[in-house]
Amino acid sequence: MTRLNLHKLTKRYRGKTEPALDDLSLEVESGSLTALLGPSGCGKTTTMKLIAGLLEPTLGDILFDGRSILGVAPERRGAVMVFQNYLLFPYMTVAENVGFGLKMRRVDRATIDRRVAEMLELVRLPGLEDRRPKELSGGQQQRVALARALIVLPKLLLLDEPLSNLDAHLRFEMRDLIRDIQRQMGITTVFVTHDQEEAVVLADKVALIFDGRLQQYDAPTAFYETPVTRRIAAFFGGVNFFQGRRNRKQFDCAIGTFSAPRSAIADQPGILSIRPEDVRLAEAGAANSVAGRIHSHVYVGTHTRLRVSVSGGHEVCVVTDAEVMKTHKPGDPVTLRFPEEKLWVLPPDALVEPTAAHREDTRFGVTKTKGCR
């Protein structure tokens, strides 16, 4: 059980102008499971390597239980990293791979053999001791790598994209396995993913990183309910964004006027957002509603996705019951109700980060949305 602190961590690779990691601070509670989430190249692996001691930070500090471990060699840190491609030692058997950490700690043979068997049991691979790594499937290799890390009872378990190389079915199985084992052993765990769903399902807390900078560090629900910026909301599947401004108790925006949520600052421009699954179909004339016409619908089995054209050439994306398919057709008029408690106002993009990727047209009302997926 170890508490991890990253303090103003910055990593600049040699010969690069942009730092791979920029002033990142966060605290991982003892025994918790934290996800580092972000798109490819945002610095997730870099962060893990810094924690494991495989890289030196340019600036900042890393603390285990409040003590800096910067001068400590990787083999003494007790932070075990499981790499994305497993890296099982090809010249060793499964048993030798799993027992490697104990061998390095000069544990006697008999104990190693017993612990290896226990660990293989734990990852549900009993009896595979004498196999070679290349004789294992991807999922099995992943489990062996996990067993090899767990056997040393690490202070900190670092999993770099543990699920990304597995097919969908195995991914769910491994996800549960990791969660179960982590709970059972209580090992402080940091895992990397670029999949927001995975992060939300597995983690106690999620650290969202864009371009080497920490965007939001919160419980998973917060990224849906109270995202800090539009970009974060969009990363978590938000698509309904409407530029507007609070006017007393009202929020005026391009598609209509709604009762202002508390997150809207008086007389300030902002982006009104509502998650597609929070939009309700309602009777015409309902409060806090907007009239529109169904543009298209997609049946996704458990639900239906609607694209609804509203005034001013805008579109609202709605995720609703699968049944709606049967009663509504493209071209039908509908009324969409935005429940007040589900409205969330984000700061205008220009105030947050005018990055190249998001330099879209942000004049009043013409914010382009990604559209319904």
């Binding site: 790499f83 030692f89 950490g101």
Partner: protein, 287 residues
């Protein structure tokens, strides 16, 4: 494959004929290779057992074991020369490995300023005649008491052996993923044990191949040995040259037999090692 077999299955027949042609070609190549390599050895072998052999006779008029007796007599110095040659080549190989592995790693894995210059310098001894380098080194060796010594000769043999070792190892390391070492480190292995348990098994084939090359290159050195050894260090090539120029073809032949042993052994070993086959002959068959 019999004719009836061929006609009964029309489609694979072409494949079978091709397969047979392959076998023929392969055996032709192997026999040619073996002839090319072995033929020059035959007269030497006969010479080593000859007593009198006059032109234009196909075979000697008389046979004897006197050349072999000479070679194995303790007073002739041939055996001592064999021992010295083994020591020098073995030592030069060991040093090449010790220096060549880290050097090859640096070249194969890291990009650094001046890398191409370093590469050129390492390759230089292959391009520039070793004797030119050795002449310069000779002066230094005399000053440090290394001239005319076994150790001095061993050191100077590094000039031609090291480039091979470094070249082979830089190729090996260019394809080696150091993440394995990083993985071992986070599991609790210090740098030395991470290398020993994880990297070494992966690069061992490279070390063996590079080492065999280095050994053979050192084994064949003549000029460098003569220059730095100053005639005091007499390796087999020097001895061979002496007897050959003295016209003692019988002794030259016998020493030659000793001299080619490492080459043959290494050829068989490496054939086996490189192809990963259980038997050395099987390895050759795959050529």
């Amino acid at each position: 494959m019999t004719a009836s077999n061929q006609s009964s299955r029309a489609a694979p027949a072409g494949g079978t004929r091709d397969g047979r042609r392959d076998v023929i070609v392969r055996w032709a190549v192997i026999s040619l290779l073996l002839t090319w390599l072995a033929l020059p050895i035959v007269p030497l072998l006969i010479w080593s057992f000859s007593f009198r052999w006059f032109f234009p006779d196909v075979l000697p008029a008389d046979y004897s074991l006197r050349a072999w007796q000479y070679v194995f007599s303790p007073t002739s110095g041939v055996l001592q020369s064999l021992r010295d040659t083994l020591l020098i080549s073995g030592g030069a190989t060991l040093l090449s490995v010790i220096i060549g592995v880290p050097a090859g790693r640096a070249l194969g894995q890291y990009v650094f300023r001046g890398k191409s210059i370093v590469e050129l310098l390492i390759l230089a001894p292959i391009i520039v005649p070793g004797i030119a380098v050795a002449l310069g080194i000779h002066v230094l060796f005399i000053r440090y008491g290394l001239a005319n010594t076994l150790f001095g000769v061993m050191l100077v043999h590094l000039i031609p052996t090291l480039p091979y070792m470094v070249l082979v190892m830089s190729g090996v390391f260019a394809n080696y993923d150091t993440s394995y070492e990083a993985q071992a480190r986070t599991l609790g292995a210090g740098p030395i044990r991470a290398f020993w348990y994880v990297t070494l098994p992966a690069i061992l084939p490279g070390i063996v191949v590079g080492g065999l090359f280095a050994f053979l290159v050192s084994w064949a050195q003549y000029i460098l040995t003569l220059l730095i050894g100053g005639g005091r260090v007499v390796t087999l090539p020097l001895l061979l040259f002496n007897f050959a120029t003295a016209g003692r073809n019988d002794i030259t032949g016998a020493i030659s037999m000793l001299y080619i042993i490492p080459g043959v052994v290494i050829l068989l070993l490496s054939a086996r090692y490189l192809t990963g086959n259980a038997s050395a002959v099987g390895g050759l068959g795959r050529l």
